[in-house]
Amino acid sequence: MEHMNWNTQQTNRQARQARAAEALGLQRQGKTVLAEAIATLLHAVIEPGDRVCLEGNNQKQADFLARALTQLDPARVHGLHMVQSVLALPEHLDLFENGIASKLDFSFSGPQAGRLAKMVSAGQIRIGAIHTYLELFARYFIDLTPRIALVCAQSADAHGNLYTGPNTEDTPAIVEATAFRGGIVIAQVNELVDTVPRVDIPGDWVDYVVLAPKPNFIEPLFTRDPAQISEIQVLMGMIAIKGIYGEYGVQRLNHGIGFDTAAIELLLPTYGEALGLKGKIGSHWALNPHPALIPAIEAGWVKSVHSFGSELGMEDYIRARSDVFFTGPDGSMRSNRAFCQAAGHYACDMFIGSTLQIDLNGHSSTATLGRISGFGGAPNMGADARGRRHASPAWLKAGAQAREGRGGVAAMPRGQKLVVQIVETFREHMQPAFVEKLDAWQLAEQAGMAIPPVMIYGDDVTHILTEEGIANLLLCRSDEEREQAIRGVAGYTPIGLGRDKRLVENLRDRGVVRRAVDLGIDQRDATRNLLAARSMRDLVRASGGLYQPPKRFRNW
């Protein structure tokens, strides 16, 4: 029998390490490499065509390593296949412009979406696929395993043990996939210490550590100034709490990032309390530490919060509320995007979030022309978990509504996740949120995508909530009913004005469409006075001074 070498990856890994040792000489001490030698290290360990994960998270960025990668010699390092969840920094795209990288698999490109679309149409980037976070992490362990991981941590010790601080985010998923499949892990850190406060990544999974000249960039993505919440958002929040949270008894949930859901967080201790819902809704959360949740936490509404990432300024507050947040023995929070995405998908009964466009089938998308942005985690949060088998009252009630009176395969008792899209009928500049055809169709054509980029498919959306009320799609029994229910809450948009008034009134009688007045809500009660905090300063006060907002939010 012919001799086979079954350890080519380990051999190759050792060869890369040997090249690094030779090239670096005294610029390396154990695992620690001098910042000025970063290009030498990267040239030594990266081979053309490598799959590289350059840690770009939703919040923290391995920005020093990103810059270093863009400055390599394209004659030596080229054809890289980048596999990272978020494209946030200009450097993430510069790599493709200067010929170092050629292919991209990712999840979200918010800040770079416009430039990405231009580069794709100019043929500068080949996109493998746009994933959800969980989907991309899954592929790290199947067919997109990184050969090189360039990650980001708060501190490291001489053994390479990493402390990520509260923004652990993607790091464990990236490093686990890379380190256990012959890859090389390089970490940039803000400080080198004798002993890390806690070990987030074990040192023997890390090959090299570089002290970055500047602390890594991190974005306070989840801070919403209550001063910017409108009366209409208060009204929609009231409709949500009474018509959905209370109606289904939603205890376990995930909120989107916008002002609509920030309003709801600030209405729980006031309006929710007045409705007698404390203890009956909103106990367990898959959520970043939203400052807007502080008043609800202080009022005793929240039992637990597990987070995808952290939020700048919330560190001391989290530390002082360790019963609520997931914290280590050192007191600081540990987040984990992969686990929190799994938690949001499987262990939450509801997702509620905003969108930009909804069509007549209830398909919902934030994709707009000229921008390739991806959806990050929303598709996993906003999808029924088909693999779920445990029951809860909210899940059972939604499932029963969807299945009532139906036979055949649908007659089997089963629950369903509540997936709520909350939008004002008109966005800013009078852009209607309801459309005949999603921009996603045209975008798919422009960018040569196999399918239109839909954030949440219509058959996963259970409720559409606007200032006009709630359309309960679970109760619709035909495509026509679904269309009229959606038109029924689409207000004065062309879609709304095109409704069949008689059919919509009929749906109202059946509770498929429920207006504020049908829920016993007087819209004149919708004032900002109902918000538990009306300014950033109120949030700080509610936290007993523990919450320290970043400067740009300190407007008092």
Binding site: I232, E424, M430, Y492, L497, Q523, R524, A526
Partner: protein
């Protein structure tokens, strides 16, 4: 009234069945971006004392939304059927949601202020 350049003026007139009678003018809202001001005054006539008209005058900075204003005005009138009122709206690009909210606030204030 002269309309400054860039603004659009619209008038809608309905026949109501709920006479508002006499009342002190009511003012709600503010003229600010994305917001509007609504004033309701008694509609006075020199010819006779009976006023069945509900007249809505809109001055708006957002041009080209006549059909939406018409639909909002019609729905407002269907809700309240006011008679003998002149409603002036000064709009700075408010969404229909905000317009409806202000109109209903103004009517509520009108009703609560009446003896």
């Amino acid at each position: 009234m002269s309309i400054p350049a860039g603004l659009e003026a619209l008038r809608f007139s309905f026949t109501g069945t709920q006479p508002a009678g006499s009342f002190a003018p009511v003012l709600v809202g503010v003229v600010g971006s994305g917001n509007l001001e609504v004033m309701i005054e008694p509609l006075t006539s020199t010819t006779d004392g009976a006023h069945s008209e509900c007249r809505i005058d809109v001055t708006t900075s957002a041009r080209g939304f006549d059909p939406i204003w018409r639909a909002v005005a019609e729905d407002f009138h269907t809700r309240h059927k006011l008679a003998g009122v002149a409603i002036s709206i000064n709009d700075m690009g408010a969404t229909p949601a905000v317009v409806n909210l202000r109109l209903d606030q103004a009517v509520a204030q009108l009703r609560s202020a009446k003896p």
